[in-house]
Symmetry: C2
DNA sequence: ACAAAAGTGTTGATCGTACACCCATGT
DNA sequence: ACATGGGTGTACGATCAACACTTTTGT
Protein backbone atom coordinates (compact mmCIF):
# COMPACT_ATOMS: atom_id res chain seq x y z
CA UNK A 1 0.00 0.00 0.00
CA UNK A 2 1.27 3.42 -0.89
CA UNK A 3 1.45 6.22 1.65
CA UNK A 4 -0.55 8.55 -0.52
CA UNK A 5 -3.53 7.36 -2.46
CA UNK A 6 -6.93 8.51 -3.52
CA UNK A 7 -8.74 6.21 -1.11
CA UNK A 8 -7.16 7.85 1.91
CA UNK A 9 -6.75 11.46 0.79
CA UNK A 10 -8.43 13.85 -1.59
CA UNK A 11 -5.98 14.05 -4.49
CA UNK A 12 -4.54 17.31 -5.78
CA UNK A 13 -5.81 19.22 -2.77
CA UNK A 14 -3.54 20.32 0.06
CA UNK A 15 -3.64 22.51 3.12
CA UNK A 16 -0.82 24.80 4.15
CA UNK A 17 -0.77 26.52 7.51
CA UNK A 18 0.87 29.81 8.36
CA UNK A 19 1.25 29.37 12.11
CA UNK A 20 1.97 32.71 13.69
CA UNK A 21 3.50 33.22 17.11
CA UNK A 22 4.73 36.31 18.91
CA UNK A 23 7.66 36.91 21.23
CA UNK A 24 9.84 39.88 22.11
CA UNK A 25 8.23 42.29 19.69
CA UNK A 26 8.65 39.90 16.78
CA UNK A 27 6.23 37.81 14.81
CA UNK A 28 7.40 34.27 14.31
CA UNK A 29 6.33 31.68 11.81
CA UNK A 30 6.57 27.95 12.38
CA UNK A 31 8.62 26.45 9.55
CA UNK A 32 9.81 22.93 8.90
CA UNK A 33 13.23 22.03 7.61
CA UNK A 34 12.58 18.88 5.67
CA UNK A 35 14.33 15.71 6.65
CA UNK A 36 16.44 15.45 3.49
CA UNK A 37 19.90 16.41 2.38
CA UNK A 38 19.83 19.94 1.08
CA UNK A 39 18.17 22.91 2.66
CA UNK A 40 14.47 22.52 2.04
CA UNK A 41 12.07 24.59 4.10
CA UNK A 42 8.31 24.40 4.03
CA UNK A 43 5.21 25.55 5.83
CA UNK A 44 3.46 22.89 7.87
CA UNK A 45 0.97 21.31 5.57
CA UNK A 46 -0.83 18.17 4.70
CA UNK A 47 -3.64 16.56 2.86
CA UNK A 48 -7.32 16.12 3.52
CA UNK A 49 -8.52 12.73 4.59
CA UNK A 50 -11.50 11.48 2.64
CA UNK A 51 -13.40 11.18 5.87
CA UNK A 52 -12.71 14.63 7.33
CA UNK A 53 -13.87 18.17 6.52
CA UNK A 54 -11.39 20.78 5.33
CA UNK A 55 -11.46 22.77 8.57
CA UNK A 56 -11.04 19.56 10.52
CA UNK A 57 -8.05 18.71 8.38
CA UNK A 58 -6.47 22.07 9.06
CA UNK A 59 -6.99 21.60 12.79
CA UNK A 60 -5.51 18.14 12.65
CA UNK A 61 -2.43 19.35 10.79
CA UNK A 62 -2.05 22.14 13.29
CA UNK A 63 -2.35 19.80 16.24
CA UNK A 64 0.20 17.41 14.75
CA UNK A 65 2.72 20.26 14.67
CA UNK A 66 1.89 22.16 17.84
CA UNK A 67 0.29 19.61 20.12
CA UNK A 68 -2.50 22.10 20.67
CA UNK A 69 -6.13 21.84 19.77
CA UNK A 70 -8.55 24.74 20.17
CA UNK A 71 -6.31 27.13 18.34
CA UNK A 72 -7.55 30.12 16.42
CA UNK A 73 -7.49 29.11 12.80
CA UNK A 74 -8.93 30.74 9.71
CA UNK A 75 -8.85 30.20 6.00
CA UNK A 76 -7.38 33.18 4.17
CA UNK A 77 -6.86 32.28 0.51
CA UNK A 78 -6.67 29.50 -2.03
CA UNK A 79 -3.63 28.93 -4.17
CA UNK A 80 -4.37 27.22 -7.43
CA UNK A 81 -2.52 28.41 -10.52
CA UNK A 82 -2.45 25.89 -13.33
CA UNK A 83 1.27 25.20 -13.03
CA UNK A 84 1.28 24.89 -9.27
CA UNK A 85 3.15 21.67 -8.65
CA UNK A 86 6.09 20.63 -6.54
CA UNK A 87 7.50 18.31 -9.17
CA UNK A 88 10.66 20.34 -9.67
CA UNK A 89 11.08 20.63 -5.97
CA UNK A 90 10.66 16.92 -5.39
CA UNK A 91 12.98 16.05 -8.24
CA UNK A 92 15.66 18.19 -6.68
CA UNK A 93 15.10 16.51 -3.34
CA UNK A 94 15.45 13.08 -4.92
CA UNK A 95 18.48 14.11 -6.91
CA UNK A 96 20.24 15.13 -3.71
CA UNK A 97 19.02 12.14 -1.73
CA UNK A 98 19.42 9.24 -4.11
CA UNK A 99 20.62 6.70 -1.54
CA UNK A 100 17.60 7.54 0.53
CA UNK A 101 15.03 7.07 -2.17
CA UNK A 102 16.65 4.49 -4.37
CA UNK A 103 18.39 2.51 -1.63
CA UNK A 104 15.59 2.34 0.91
CA UNK A 105 12.85 3.05 -1.59
CA UNK A 106 10.95 5.16 0.90
CA UNK A 107 8.91 6.79 -1.81
CA UNK A 108 7.18 4.50 -4.25
CA UNK A 109 6.72 5.43 -7.87
CA UNK A 110 3.01 5.80 -7.24
CA UNK A 111 3.59 8.08 -4.27
CA UNK A 112 5.94 10.19 -6.35
CA UNK A 113 3.31 10.58 -9.04
CA UNK A 114 0.66 11.39 -6.47
CA UNK A 115 2.80 14.04 -4.81
CA UNK A 116 4.04 15.71 -7.96
CA UNK A 117 0.64 16.28 -9.41
CA UNK A 118 -0.65 19.77 -9.78
CA UNK A 119 -2.07 20.82 -6.40
CA UNK A 120 -4.60 23.35 -5.23
CA UNK A 121 -3.76 24.47 -1.73
CA UNK A 122 -6.08 25.92 0.87
CA UNK A 123 -4.22 28.52 2.92
CA UNK A 124 -5.00 28.77 6.63
CA UNK A 125 -3.39 30.90 9.27
CA UNK A 126 -3.29 30.15 12.97
CA UNK A 127 -2.50 32.41 15.89
CA UNK A 128 -0.94 30.75 18.90
CA UNK A 129 0.50 31.59 22.28
CA UNK A 130 4.11 30.75 21.62
CA UNK A 131 4.72 29.71 25.22
CA UNK A 132 2.15 26.99 25.06
CA UNK A 133 3.51 25.41 21.93
CA UNK A 134 6.30 22.86 21.70
CA UNK A 135 6.79 22.45 17.97
CA UNK A 136 6.61 18.80 17.02
CA UNK A 137 8.49 17.18 14.18
CA UNK A 138 6.83 14.62 12.01
CA UNK A 139 8.81 11.92 10.22
CA UNK A 140 9.23 14.34 7.34
CA UNK A 141 10.84 17.07 9.40
CA UNK A 142 14.47 17.42 10.33
CA UNK A 143 13.43 20.37 12.47
CA UNK A 144 10.29 22.37 13.19
CA UNK A 145 11.12 25.79 14.48
CA UNK A 146 10.02 29.36 14.89
CA UNK A 147 11.59 31.86 12.51
CA UNK A 148 11.38 35.59 12.80
CA UNK A 149 9.09 36.78 10.07
CA UNK A 150 11.84 38.98 8.66
CA UNK A 151 14.50 36.30 8.84
CA UNK A 152 12.83 33.46 7.05
CA UNK A 153 14.83 30.91 5.08
CA UNK A 154 14.04 30.47 1.41
CA UNK A 155 10.84 28.45 1.32
CA UNK A 156 9.69 25.92 -1.23
CA UNK A 157 7.15 26.72 -3.93
CA UNK A 158 4.95 29.72 -3.14
CA UNK A 159 5.15 29.40 0.63
CA UNK A 160 6.75 32.82 1.03
CA UNK A 161 3.87 34.41 -0.83
CA UNK A 162 1.46 32.48 1.38
CA UNK A 163 2.98 34.04 4.47
CA UNK A 164 2.64 37.52 3.02
CA UNK A 165 -0.98 36.97 2.10
CA UNK A 166 -1.69 35.49 5.52
CA UNK A 167 -0.27 38.55 7.26
CA UNK A 168 -2.23 40.88 5.00
CA UNK A 169 -5.36 39.01 5.84
CA UNK A 170 -4.50 39.07 9.53
CA UNK A 171 -4.06 42.84 9.47
CA UNK A 172 -7.38 43.28 7.75
CA UNK A 173 -9.24 41.12 10.23
CA UNK A 174 -7.63 42.73 13.25
CA UNK A 175 -9.54 45.94 12.86
CA UNK A 176 -12.89 44.26 13.09
CA UNK A 177 -11.91 41.54 15.48
CA UNK A 178 -9.96 40.94 18.62
CA UNK A 179 -8.44 37.69 17.47
CA UNK A 180 -4.92 39.00 17.97
CA UNK A 181 -5.20 38.40 21.63
CA UNK A 182 -4.77 34.74 20.79
CA UNK A 183 -1.10 35.50 20.31
CA UNK A 184 -0.64 36.53 23.93
CA UNK A 185 -0.34 34.41 27.07
CA UNK A 186 -3.17 33.92 29.57
CA UNK A 187 -2.66 37.30 31.19
CA UNK A 188 -0.74 40.27 29.92
CA UNK A 189 -0.24 43.98 30.38
CA UNK A 190 -1.58 46.71 28.15
CA UNK A 191 1.94 47.48 27.01
CA UNK A 192 2.31 43.94 25.77
CA UNK A 193 -0.89 44.30 23.76
CA UNK A 194 0.39 47.53 22.30
CA UNK A 195 3.78 46.01 21.43
CA UNK A 196 1.95 43.22 19.65
CA UNK A 197 -0.17 45.60 17.59
CA UNK A 198 2.84 47.72 16.74
CA UNK A 199 4.69 44.63 15.61
CA UNK A 200 1.90 43.39 13.41
CA UNK A 201 1.18 46.71 11.76
CA UNK A 202 4.74 47.96 11.89
CA UNK A 203 3.55 51.28 13.29
CA UNK A 204 3.59 53.06 16.61
CA UNK A 205 0.58 54.21 18.58
CA UNK A 206 0.03 56.74 21.35
CA UNK A 207 0.00 54.90 24.64
CA UNK A 208 -3.03 56.56 26.21
CA UNK A 209 -5.26 56.41 23.17
CA UNK A 210 -4.30 52.85 22.50
CA UNK A 211 -5.36 51.85 26.00
CA UNK A 212 -8.72 53.53 25.53
CA UNK A 213 -9.27 51.89 22.17
CA UNK A 214 -8.56 48.41 23.47
CA UNK A 215 -10.58 48.80 26.64
CA UNK A 216 -13.48 50.13 24.58
CA UNK A 217 -13.60 46.80 22.79
CA UNK A 218 -14.82 45.45 26.13
CA UNK A 219 -13.21 42.08 25.62
CA UNK A 220 -10.65 42.40 28.42
CA UNK A 221 -11.06 42.21 32.17
CA UNK A 222 -8.62 43.78 34.55
CA UNK A 223 -6.86 41.57 37.09
CA UNK A 224 -4.48 42.46 39.92
CA UNK A 225 -1.36 44.53 39.33
CA UNK A 226 1.89 43.04 38.22
CA UNK A 227 4.82 43.96 40.46
CA UNK A 228 7.97 43.50 38.44
CA UNK A 229 10.38 45.09 40.87
CA UNK A 230 10.94 47.97 38.49
CA UNK A 231 10.96 51.38 40.05
CA UNK A 232 7.76 52.60 38.52
CA UNK A 233 4.05 52.20 38.80
CA UNK A 234 2.95 48.58 38.46
CA UNK A 235 0.81 47.89 35.40
CA UNK A 236 -2.47 46.01 35.61
CA UNK A 237 -2.74 42.56 34.15
CA UNK A 238 -5.58 41.77 31.80
CA UNK A 239 -7.10 38.66 30.40
CA UNK A 240 -9.71 37.91 27.79
CA UNK A 241 -13.26 37.88 29.17
CA UNK A 242 -15.14 34.63 29.05
CA UNK B 1 -14.18 8.11 -23.02
CA UNK B 2 -16.11 9.34 -20.06
CA UNK B 3 -17.22 12.92 -19.75
CA UNK B 4 -15.61 13.35 -16.37
CA UNK B 5 -12.24 11.91 -15.59
CA UNK B 6 -9.14 12.73 -13.64
CA UNK B 7 -7.09 13.46 -16.76
CA UNK B 8 -9.35 16.33 -17.77
CA UNK B 9 -10.50 17.71 -14.44
CA UNK B 10 -9.22 17.89 -10.89
CA UNK B 11 -11.31 15.30 -9.08
CA UNK B 12 -13.36 16.06 -5.98
CA UNK B 13 -12.94 19.79 -6.49
CA UNK B 14 -15.71 22.00 -7.84
CA UNK B 15 -16.49 25.65 -8.29
CA UNK B 16 -19.88 27.19 -7.63
CA UNK B 17 -20.73 30.73 -8.62
CA UNK B 18 -23.22 33.03 -6.97
CA UNK B 19 -23.88 35.39 -9.85
CA UNK B 20 -25.57 38.50 -8.56
CA UNK B 21 -27.55 40.94 -10.65
CA UNK B 22 -29.70 43.91 -9.76
CA UNK B 23 -32.92 45.25 -11.19
CA UNK B 24 -35.83 47.23 -9.86
CA UNK B 25 -34.62 47.41 -6.31
CA UNK B 26 -34.12 43.66 -6.13
CA UNK B 27 -31.06 41.49 -6.04
CA UNK B 28 -31.25 38.58 -8.44
CA UNK B 29 -29.30 35.37 -8.52
CA UNK B 30 -28.67 33.36 -11.65
CA UNK B 31 -29.98 29.85 -11.07
CA UNK B 32 -30.17 26.85 -13.34
CA UNK B 33 -33.09 24.48 -13.51
CA UNK B 34 -31.49 21.22 -14.43
CA UNK B 35 -32.50 19.48 -17.60
CA UNK B 36 -34.13 16.50 -15.91
CA UNK B 37 -37.57 15.46 -14.83
CA UNK B 38 -38.24 16.76 -11.37
CA UNK B 39 -37.52 20.20 -10.07
CA UNK B 40 -33.80 20.42 -9.54
CA UNK B 41 -32.23 23.82 -9.15
CA UNK B 42 -28.55 24.58 -8.83
CA UNK B 43 -26.06 27.39 -8.85
CA UNK B 44 -23.94 27.63 -11.99
CA UNK B 45 -20.90 25.55 -11.32
CA UNK B 46 -18.30 23.36 -12.84
CA UNK B 47 -14.99 21.69 -12.46
CA UNK B 48 -11.42 22.81 -12.81
CA UNK B 49 -9.54 21.73 -15.86
CA UNK B 50 -6.16 20.24 -15.13
CA UNK B 51 -4.62 22.89 -17.33
CA UNK B 52 -6.27 25.98 -15.86
CA UNK B 53 -5.96 27.93 -12.61
CA UNK B 54 -8.84 28.11 -10.18
CA UNK B 55 -9.63 31.76 -10.89
CA UNK B 56 -9.46 31.04 -14.61
CA UNK B 57 -11.88 28.19 -14.12
CA UNK B 58 -14.31 30.45 -12.27
CA UNK B 59 -14.11 33.00 -15.07
CA UNK B 60 -14.67 30.32 -17.68
CA UNK B 61 -17.72 28.97 -15.89
CA UNK B 62 -19.04 32.48 -15.57
CA UNK B 63 -18.49 33.21 -19.22
CA UNK B 64 -20.20 29.99 -20.25
CA UNK B 65 -23.31 31.10 -18.39
CA UNK B 66 -23.34 34.83 -19.03
CA UNK B 67 -21.41 35.29 -22.26
CA UNK B 68 -19.39 37.96 -20.50
CA UNK B 69 -15.74 38.03 -19.66
CA UNK B 70 -14.19 40.79 -17.56
CA UNK B 71 -16.72 40.41 -14.83
CA UNK B 72 -16.07 41.22 -11.23
CA UNK B 73 -15.47 37.91 -9.53
CA UNK B 74 -14.16 37.04 -6.10
CA UNK B 75 -13.69 33.96 -4.03
CA UNK B 76 -15.62 34.14 -0.78
CA UNK B 77 -15.51 30.76 0.96
CA UNK B 78 -14.73 27.09 0.63
CA UNK B 79 -17.28 24.41 1.32
CA UNK B 80 -15.78 21.12 2.35
CA UNK B 81 -17.50 19.16 5.08
CA UNK B 82 -16.65 15.48 5.14
CA UNK B 83 -20.10 14.35 4.02
CA UNK B 84 -20.43 16.90 1.24
CA UNK B 85 -21.54 14.82 -1.72
CA UNK B 86 -24.34 15.00 -4.20
CA UNK B 87 -24.82 11.24 -4.29
CA UNK B 88 -28.32 11.39 -2.81
CA UNK B 89 -29.19 14.18 -5.16
CA UNK B 90 -27.94 12.34 -8.21
CA UNK B 91 -29.66 9.12 -7.18
CA UNK B 92 -32.93 11.00 -6.96
CA UNK B 93 -32.35 12.50 -10.39
CA UNK B 94 -31.67 9.10 -11.85
CA UNK B 95 -34.63 7.53 -10.09
CA UNK B 96 -36.90 10.10 -11.69
CA UNK B 97 -35.22 9.94 -15.09
CA UNK B 98 -34.66 6.26 -15.64
CA UNK B 99 -35.48 6.23 -19.34
CA UNK B 100 -32.95 8.98 -19.82
CA UNK B 101 -30.07 7.35 -18.04
CA UNK B 102 -30.76 3.68 -18.58
CA UNK B 103 -32.22 3.96 -22.05
CA UNK B 104 -29.75 6.37 -23.59
CA UNK B 105 -27.04 5.70 -21.06
CA UNK B 106 -25.98 9.31 -21.04
CA UNK B 107 -24.12 8.92 -17.82
CA UNK B 108 -21.64 6.09 -17.64
CA UNK B 109 -21.03 4.17 -14.47
CA UNK B 110 -17.61 5.79 -14.22
CA UNK B 111 -19.07 9.27 -14.64
CA UNK B 112 -21.62 8.52 -11.96
CA UNK B 113 -18.91 7.45 -9.56
CA UNK B 114 -16.85 10.50 -10.40
CA UNK B 115 -19.73 12.87 -9.83
CA UNK B 116 -20.99 11.32 -6.62
CA UNK B 117 -17.67 11.48 -4.86
CA UNK B 118 -17.25 13.75 -1.91
CA UNK B 119 -16.53 17.25 -3.28
CA UNK B 120 -14.84 20.33 -1.95
CA UNK B 121 -16.32 23.39 -3.58
CA UNK B 122 -14.73 26.80 -4.01
CA UNK B 123 -17.40 29.48 -3.70
CA UNK B 124 -17.12 32.54 -5.93
CA UNK B 125 -19.47 35.44 -6.33
CA UNK B 126 -19.80 37.65 -9.36
CA UNK B 127 -21.42 41.03 -9.76
CA UNK B 128 -22.86 41.77 -13.16
CA UNK B 129 -24.80 44.44 -14.99
CA UNK B 130 -28.00 42.52 -15.54
CA UNK B 131 -28.71 44.33 -18.80
CA UNK B 132 -25.54 43.12 -20.39
CA UNK B 133 -26.13 39.49 -19.61
CA UNK B 134 -28.17 37.02 -21.60
CA UNK B 135 -28.13 33.92 -19.46
CA UNK B 136 -26.96 30.95 -21.49
CA UNK B 137 -28.06 27.39 -20.97
CA UNK B 138 -25.59 24.56 -21.18
CA UNK B 139 -26.63 21.05 -22.16
CA UNK B 140 -27.32 20.37 -18.50
CA UNK B 141 -29.76 23.22 -18.07
CA UNK B 142 -33.44 23.24 -18.84
CA UNK B 143 -33.41 26.94 -18.00
CA UNK B 144 -30.96 29.49 -16.69
CA UNK B 145 -32.74 32.40 -15.16
CA UNK B 146 -32.61 35.24 -12.69
CA UNK B 147 -34.48 34.69 -9.44
CA UNK B 148 -35.23 37.33 -6.87
CA UNK B 149 -33.02 36.66 -3.92
CA UNK B 150 -36.06 36.35 -1.69
CA UNK B 151 -37.98 34.12 -4.06
CA UNK B 152 -35.47 31.41 -4.75
CA UNK B 153 -36.55 27.87 -5.49
CA UNK B 154 -35.27 25.10 -3.26
CA UNK B 155 -31.70 24.53 -4.32
CA UNK B 156 -29.67 21.34 -4.32
CA UNK B 157 -27.12 20.52 -1.65
CA UNK B 158 -25.83 23.53 0.27
CA UNK B 159 -26.38 26.05 -2.52
CA UNK B 160 -28.81 28.11 -0.46
CA UNK B 161 -26.21 28.50 2.25
CA UNK B 162 -23.68 29.48 -0.39
CA UNK B 163 -25.87 32.35 -1.49
CA UNK B 164 -26.23 33.58 2.07
CA UNK B 165 -22.51 33.46 2.68
CA UNK B 166 -21.84 35.18 -0.61
CA UNK B 167 -24.16 38.05 0.29
CA UNK B 168 -22.60 38.37 3.74
CA UNK B 169 -19.21 38.56 2.15
CA UNK B 170 -20.47 41.09 -0.38
CA UNK B 171 -21.82 43.34 2.38
CA UNK B 172 -18.53 43.18 4.23
CA UNK B 173 -16.49 44.08 1.17
CA UNK B 174 -18.76 46.90 0.15
CA UNK B 175 -17.67 49.13 2.95
CA UNK B 176 -14.05 49.06 1.94
CA UNK B 177 -14.59 48.85 -1.76
CA UNK B 178 -16.70 50.27 -4.51
CA UNK B 179 -17.23 46.99 -6.28
CA UNK B 180 -20.98 47.33 -6.06
CA UNK B 181 -21.00 49.70 -8.91
CA UNK B 182 -20.42 46.64 -11.08
CA UNK B 183 -24.08 45.88 -10.63
CA UNK B 184 -25.18 49.08 -12.35
CA UNK B 185 -25.30 49.98 -16.02
CA UNK B 186 -22.73 52.18 -17.73
CA UNK B 187 -24.23 55.39 -16.40
CA UNK B 188 -26.67 55.89 -13.57
CA UNK B 189 -28.13 58.47 -11.24
CA UNK B 190 -27.27 58.86 -7.60
CA UNK B 191 -30.71 57.66 -6.66
CA UNK B 192 -30.05 54.41 -8.48
CA UNK B 193 -26.86 53.94 -6.51
CA UNK B 194 -28.73 54.60 -3.30
CA UNK B 195 -31.50 52.16 -4.20
CA UNK B 196 -28.85 49.54 -4.85
CA UNK B 197 -27.16 50.05 -1.49
CA UNK B 198 -30.50 50.04 0.29
CA UNK B 199 -31.40 46.79 -1.41
CA UNK B 200 -28.14 45.09 -0.54
CA UNK B 201 -28.08 46.18 3.09
CA UNK B 202 -31.84 46.18 3.53
CA UNK B 203 -31.67 49.59 5.14
CA UNK B 204 -32.53 53.15 4.22
CA UNK B 205 -30.14 56.06 4.08
CA UNK B 206 -30.53 59.84 4.14
CA UNK B 207 -30.43 61.11 0.58
CA UNK B 208 -28.06 64.05 1.05
CA UNK B 209 -25.55 62.25 3.25
CA UNK B 210 -25.53 59.25 0.98
CA UNK B 211 -24.63 61.45 -1.95
CA UNK B 212 -21.74 62.96 -0.02
CA UNK B 213 -20.45 59.59 1.09
CA UNK B 214 -20.44 58.19 -2.42
CA UNK B 215 -18.93 61.25 -4.04
CA UNK B 216 -16.23 61.28 -1.35
CA UNK B 217 -15.10 57.89 -2.60
CA UNK B 218 -13.96 59.81 -5.68
CA UNK B 219 -14.64 56.91 -7.99
CA UNK B 220 -17.48 58.53 -9.92
CA UNK B 221 -17.44 61.25 -12.52
CA UNK B 222 -20.44 63.41 -13.23
CA UNK B 223 -21.87 63.45 -16.73
CA UNK B 224 -24.68 65.49 -18.24
CA UNK B 225 -28.12 65.67 -16.70
CA UNK B 226 -30.79 63.13 -17.38
CA UNK B 227 -34.06 64.66 -18.56
CA UNK B 228 -36.75 62.15 -17.83
CA UNK B 229 -39.74 64.33 -18.58
CA UNK B 230 -40.73 64.31 -14.94
CA UNK B 231 -41.71 67.62 -13.47
CA UNK B 232 -38.73 68.03 -11.22
CA UNK B 233 -35.07 68.88 -11.33
CA UNK B 234 -33.16 66.57 -13.64
CA UNK B 235 -30.62 64.37 -11.85
CA UNK B 236 -27.03 64.11 -12.99
CA UNK B 237 -25.78 60.94 -14.53
CA UNK B 238 -22.57 59.42 -13.22
CA UNK B 239 -20.20 56.77 -14.39
CA UNK B 240 -17.21 55.00 -12.90
CA UNK B 241 -13.94 56.89 -13.45
CA UNK B 242 -11.32 55.22 -15.57
C1' DA C 1 12.97 63.44 46.51
C1' DC C 2 13.32 61.57 42.07
C1' DA C 3 13.10 58.94 37.75
C1' DA C 4 10.42 55.89 35.13
C1' DA C 5 6.39 54.07 33.49
C1' DA C 6 1.24 53.54 34.13
C1' DG C 7 -3.11 55.57 34.25
C1' DT C 8 -6.58 59.37 33.50
C1' DG C 9 -8.47 63.77 31.81
C1' DT C 10 -9.04 67.52 28.40
C1' DT C 11 -8.95 69.68 24.17
C1' DG C 12 -9.38 70.18 19.18
C1' DA C 13 -10.10 68.15 14.71
C1' DT C 14 -12.57 65.12 11.96
C1' DC C 15 -16.35 62.36 10.53
C1' DG C 16 -21.13 61.00 10.16
C1' DT C 17 -25.85 62.28 10.82
C1' DA C 18 -29.95 65.32 11.02
C1' DC C 19 -32.00 69.28 9.58
C1' DA C 20 -32.84 73.12 6.64
C1' DC C 21 -32.73 75.35 2.52
C1' DC C 22 -32.19 76.29 -2.44
C1' DC C 23 -32.55 74.80 -7.38
C1' DA C 24 -34.47 73.02 -11.64
C1' DT C 25 -38.26 71.02 -14.20
C1' DG C 26 -42.94 70.23 -16.37
C1' DT C 27 -47.74 71.13 -15.56
C1' DA D 1 -47.08 79.60 -9.30
C1' DC D 2 -46.35 75.23 -7.53
C1' DA D 3 -45.54 70.50 -6.60
C1' DT D 4 -41.86 67.29 -7.00
C1' DG D 5 -37.56 65.57 -6.54
C1' DG D 6 -32.40 66.77 -6.87
C1' DG D 7 -28.48 69.21 -4.97
C1' DT D 8 -25.94 71.77 -1.35
C1' DG D 9 -24.87 73.94 3.14
C1' DT D 10 -24.92 74.09 8.19
C1' DA D 11 -25.04 72.50 12.91
C1' DC D 12 -24.84 69.09 16.18
C1' DG D 13 -22.88 64.93 18.38
C1' DA D 14 -19.76 61.10 18.42
C1' DT D 15 -15.33 59.48 17.59
C1' DC D 16 -10.22 59.79 17.40
C1' DA D 17 -5.71 61.80 18.02
C1' DA D 18 -2.50 65.11 20.55
C1' DC D 19 -1.31 67.10 24.71
C1' DA D 20 -1.09 67.63 29.62
C1' DC D 21 -1.33 66.04 34.06
C1' DT D 22 -1.58 62.73 38.06
C1' DT D 23 -0.38 58.30 40.30
C1' DT D 24 2.46 54.60 41.69
C1' DT D 25 6.69 52.17 42.33
C1' DG D 26 11.76 51.27 43.82
C1' DT D 27 15.93 53.60 44.68
Amino acid sequence: MNLFNNQTYIPQLAIDCVIVGYQERTLKILVSKLNFKGNFYALPGGFILQKEGIDEAAHRILEERTGMSNIFLAHFKNFGQANRTNREFLEEVIELNQEHFIGEMTLSKADFEWLTNRFVSLGYYALVDINKVTPKKTALDESMEWYNVHELPVLMMDHAEMINKALESLRLNLNTNSIVLNLLPESFTMKEVQDLYETIFEETYARNNFQKKILDLKVLERLEKKYTGASNKAPYLYRIKR
